[in-house]
Amino acid sequence: GAGVSQSPRYKVAKRGQDVALRCDPISGHVSLFWYQQALGQGPEFLTYFQNEAQLDKSGLPSDRFFAERPEGSVSTLKIQRTQQEDSAVYLCASSAAPGTGTYEQYFGPGTRLTVT
C-alpha cells in the first residue's frame, strides 16, 4: 500500500512569493498533521486535522500560514508572502486513529522549502 506522499519535494521561492505544499495521506487515515523541521532539529508541530476539521492550529508561526483539508483526505499547507525564516522541511504525517497524542504517525518524505 502507498504511504504518505508530499509534493513538491523541493521548492525554491523568492521572498514575498506564496507557496502551496500538498500532502496525500494514507487512504482512510483520519488524522493528519503538519510539522516544520529546521536543520538539526526535531519536527515542530504546526497543525492537526481530524477528517476535514482543523482541531488545532496552535503551532502555526504566523497568520501567513494556512492549512486546509476540505474533503478529509488531501491537505494543503499554504504560506503567503514567504520570508527567509520559513526555509525548512515541511513534513506531513497521518494516523489511522483520531486524536493527537496517543497513536503512531506515518510521515511523508517532506517538502524542502528554500526562500531566497
Binding site: G42, L55, S58, T100, G101, E104, F107
Partner: protein, 112 residues
C-alpha cells in the same frame, strides 16, 4: 515548561559496539512515548510506542525501555545500516489537545 531532551546529540560506534540513546522528559501524566528513525532526506519512520514504566519493546537490534522520567533505546551489535537520526516524541498538552513534541534527536553513525 515540559521538555523532551535527547542525549547524546551525536554518537559514533564501530560495527558491533553496543550502546544506548537517552530520551528524558518532564511531562506530567505521560500519554505515551514514541521512538522514530529518520534517514537523511526522508521523513521519520515509526519504531515503537511505550505507554507505562517498565514496558519494553524490541525490533531486530533495537530495544526500547521506559521509566517514569526517561526512555532508552538500546542498540545491540549495530550495523552500518543502523546509521540514522533517532527521535523520541511525547504528547504534551497545548492548544486544547495533546501536541506531539519531539526531541532534537541523536545522530548515530556506525562505522564498518
Amino acid at each position: 515548561e515540559d521538555q523532551v531532551t535527547q542525549s547524546p546529540e551525536a554518537l559514533r560506534l564501530q560495527e558491533g559496539e553496543s550502546s544506548s540513546l537517552n530520551c528524558s522528559y518532564t511531562v506530567s501524566g505521560l500519554r505515551g512515548l514514541f521512538w522514530y528513525r529518520q534517514d537523511p532526506g526522508k521523513g521519520p519512520e515509526f519504531l515503537f510506542t511505550l505507554y507505562s514504566a517498565g514496558e519494553e519493546k524490541e525490533k531486530e537490534r533495537l530495544k526500547a525501555t521506559l521509566t517514569k522520567k526517561e526512555s532508552f533505546l538500546h542498540i545491540t551489535a549495530p550495523k552500518p545500516e543502523d546509521s540514522a537520526t533517532y527521535l523520541c516524541a511525547v504528547p504534551q498538552i497545548g492548544g486544547g489537545s495533546y501536541i506531539p513534541t519531539f526531541g532534537r534527536g541523536t545522530s548515530l553513525i556506525v562505522h564498518p
